[in-house]
C-alpha cells in the first residue's frame, strides 16, 4: 500500500511541502536572491511590512477585488444559470458557448483583448461611448488611479463567469422536474423556487466553487495585473501577489517578498477556511 503511495508522496513533498516550508523559512532572512550572503533577521521583514504603505495598498486592492469580483461573478453566474436552465431559451446553447469561450482563452490573451477594449483613443469602450454621445463618460480606463482596479476586475469577471455558469447549470439540470412542478402547484413563484428549491439542492456545488474561487481570484488577479497594468499607474492596481513578485524578483528583496508570501498564504487560508465553515451544511438527497 505504502509502496503504491510513495511516488505521489515524494512528488507532493518535493513540489508542495518543501517549497511552502521554504517560503516560511526564507521570510526570516534578508537575501537578494542571487548572492550567497543570507542573513537571519528574525521577524524584521514582518516589522517592515507594518510600515510599508505599498503593502497596505496592495492588500486593500486584493480585498477589494476579492469581494467585488466574487460577489459579481457568483451572483451573475447563478442568475444566468437559473435563467438558462429554467427558461427554455432558443439560443441557450449558443449563449452558453459564447460565455464559456473566455475560460478557454489564455489569461494573457484576455489581458490583450481588454487592453485593446480599454484603449484611450481607439478602444471599443471609448468609441462606443462617443457613438452614443456619452463623451463625458470616457475614461483612461487603465491609466486613471480611480478606475484601473475595476477595469481589471471586469476582465476577471469576464474570464470566470462562463465557467461558473456552466458549473451551476450542470447542477441545476440534474434537479428533477417533478420538484418544480409540485412546488408550482403549491403556488411557489419563480423566485421562491430558486431560493427554496434550486439553491438548497445545488448548495454543495456552490460551496465548493465559492471556496475554490476565493483562492483562484487571488492568483488570477496577479496574472491580469501583471499583463494589463504592471501594478500601475503609481501602484494603484498593485495586488499582494504582484507586489510580492516585484519585491522578490525585481527589487532583489527575496526575504521580504517571502514575508509577503506568508501573509498571502495566511490570508487565503483563513478566508477559505471561514468560507467553508460559514457554508457548511448536510447534503440534501433527491
Amino acid at each position: 500500500m505504502l509502496a503504491c503511495l510513495l511516488p505521489a508522496l515524494v512528488l507532493f513533498a518535493v513540489f508542495m511541502v518543501y517549497p511552502t516550508v521554504n517560503v516560511f523559512r526564507m521570510s526570516l532572512y534578508t537575501w537578494s536572491g542571487f548572492s550567497p550572503d543570507m542573513k537571519f533577521v528574525g521577524l524584521d521583514n514582518f516589522r517592515h511590512l507594518v510600515d510599508d504603505d505599498q503593502f497596505v495598498r496592495a492588500f486593500q486592492n486584493t480585498v477589494t477585488l476579492l469581494v467585488v469580483v466574487t460577489v459579481v461573478t457568483m451572483g451573475m453566474g447563478l442568475f444566468l444559470a437559473a435563467i438558462m436552465t429554467r427558461q427554455k431559451l432558443r439560443s441557450r446553447n449558443f449563449l452558453r458557448f459564447v460565455l464559456y469561450i473566455p475560460n478557454v482563452l489564455s489569461v494573457v490573451v484576455i489581458a490583450a483583448v481588454f487592453s485593446a477594449i480599454y484603449d484611450q483613443n481607439n478602444g471599443l469602450l471609448n468609441s462606443m461611448l462617443r457613438l452614443v454621445s456619452l463623451d463625458s463618460w470616457q475614461q483612461v480606463w487603465l491609466g486613471d488611479q480611480k478606475v484601473v482596479l475595476y477595469s481589471v476586475g471586469i476582465a476577471m469577471v469576464w474570464q470566470s463567469l462562463g465557467y461558473y455558469m456552466v458549473l451551476y447549470m450542470s447542477s441545476m439540470s440534474s434537479i428533477p422536474e417533478e420538484l418544480y412542478e409540485a412546488s408550482g402547484l403549491d403556488g411557489a413563484s419563480a423566485s421562491r423556487q430558486f431560493f427554496s428549491l434550486t439553491m438548497p439542492l445545488i448548495w454543495q456545488n456552490l460551496r465548493t466553487s465559492l471556496t475554490f474561487f476565493i483562492m483562484s481570484a487571488v492568483n488570477l488577479s496577479f496574472v491580469l495585473v501583471r499583463a494589463m497594468t504592471g501594478g500601475g499607474p503609481d501602484s494603484s492596481s498593485e495586488v499582494l501577489l504582484s507586489y510580492m513578485y516585484k519585491q522578490a524578483y525585481t527589487n532583489s528583496s527575496y526575504g521580504y517578498g517571502m514575508a509577503i508570501g506568508v501573509v498571502i498564504f495566511a490570508f487565503s487560508f483563513l478566508v477559505s477556511l471561514l468560507m467553508s465553515r460559514a457554508t457548511k451544511r448536510e447534503p440534501l438527497q433527491f
Binding site: Q60, V63, V71
Partner: protein, 59 residues
C-alpha cells in the same frame, strides 16, 4: 407578524447589509492605511457572517 412578512423583512435586511458591506469595501479602499484595511476586512467578515446566518437554518 405574519411569516411571509417576516421572511420578506429578513431578506430585505440581509440584502441591505450585504450591499453596505460591499460599499464599505469600495469606499475604504480609496484611502491607504491599516485602519481602512481593518474596516475592509471587517466588511469581508460581515459578508461571511451574513452567509453563515443564511445557512444556519439548513445545518
Amino acid at each position: 407578524m405574519k411569516d411571509s412578512t417576516r421572511t420578506a423583512l429578513l431578506v430585505g435586511v440581509r440584502t441591505l447589509v450585504a450591499a453596505a458591506c460591499v460599499a464599505l469595501v469600495v469606499v475604504e479602499r480609496r484611502t491607504i492605511g491599516w485602519g481602512h484595511l481593518g474596516i475592509m476586512l471587517l466588511a469581508l467578515a460581515g459578508l461571511m457572517a451574513l452567509l453563515a446566518s443564511y445557512n444556519r437554518r439548513y445545518q
